[in-house]
Symmetry: C3
Subunit: 146 residues, 3 copies
Amino acid sequence: MNDMTGLEMQHGRLFVGRLPYKKDLITSVENFCKESSIDMAVFSIIGAVSSVTIGSYDQKQQVYVSHFEKAPLEILTCTGNISLKKGNPVAHAHIVLCDEEGKTTGGHLFSDTIVFAAEIELQELIGNTLERVYDKNTGLMLWKFI
Amino acid sequence: MNDMTGLEMQHGRLFVGRLPYKKDLITSVENFCKESSIDMAVFSIIGAVSSVTIGSYDQKQQVYVSHFEKAPLEILTCTGNISLKKGNPVAHAHIVLCDEEGKTTGGHLFSDTIVFAAEIELQELIGNTLERVYDKNTGLMLWKFI
Amino acid sequence: MNDMTGLEMQHGRLFVGRLPYKKDLITSVENFCKESSIDMAVFSIIGAVSSVTIGSYDQKQQVYVSHFEKAPLEILTCTGNISLKKGNPVAHAHIVLCDEEGKTTGGHLFSDTIVFAAEIELQELIGNTLERVYDKNTGLMLWKFI
């Protein structure tokens, strides 16, 4: 595989919304997708959290390492997508945050990240199924394209 | 409110453009929206600034704290939206910047941020009015969905 | 030029995809665009790299300064566009990365940035040609709008 592989998608429904106060960020997005029958989407969020769980993937050990931080932080960007894992819509998102001094941090976003306020734009994708399967090169669950 | 609340929108006009040299970033975007009769939109910007005013929201005191910095900085991401406040289109945007050593900073974006060069993608949203109203949980002006 | 200048575009094809393992990020995106006859687009990427070349534009000297770093880093955001330079589709992208401690860095993205895993959303733009030409204010190759 020498080139980018991909699927052409159609634009489905386009939503703008707010994530609920004091609730988990990823769970809120995934619940909305389940209730709205959204299997595939891309989304973008700005806002603030009262705590966050972020991490990164150890490319050698092939495991995610994460840590929890309780602090008021701005969400400077949170970019993600929705696709299927074992038939359920799951979110994959990366986030950049900053504290009151503008000091930035970020990582792969995990649950146990509590929203203070968050505005989301979510574009549903319509087309062939985007399903995550085990990728032996990376040890990650990645999209498989034929 | 346990779940994400939102509105389904239609895709309006899609613009790509440049923000003017040595002018205020937010004012330029808001002026373009007023002149183009855009009430609701989402946008994304990359580029560079010669000075920036960024801050964060003090979740306890419920006030924004901001600071000004005069320095040549890259705009690594600037994600925002346009919605109505008292009938006028206003921008809400968060930004990530870096200096010449790649050191990042960021925050809620304020006016008195001067563009060196900036490329914008702006998607107009068509649908029920997105209006900001006072939210008592956070003290912020947030979108109200019925 | 006091205001944002821009072009209204039509939505072309929408792709989601993966960038190839151990290949150059920008080259992979540009090759996909050439093979798919895409002249103009906006895109967004999350994922991870095994090495990166980033930099910033020296606004006084009007030259790009870049540096290479070999390290496993998460791509927290990578926002970019495709437009024409001398008739060829070229990518302009800015990136935010973090290491295993969540420490962020970023900059203008250059080639010699090797993908570990990367998920891309790419929206083709259809309309009048977006072409980069020399801009005397900044010394950059920027879009010219009449």
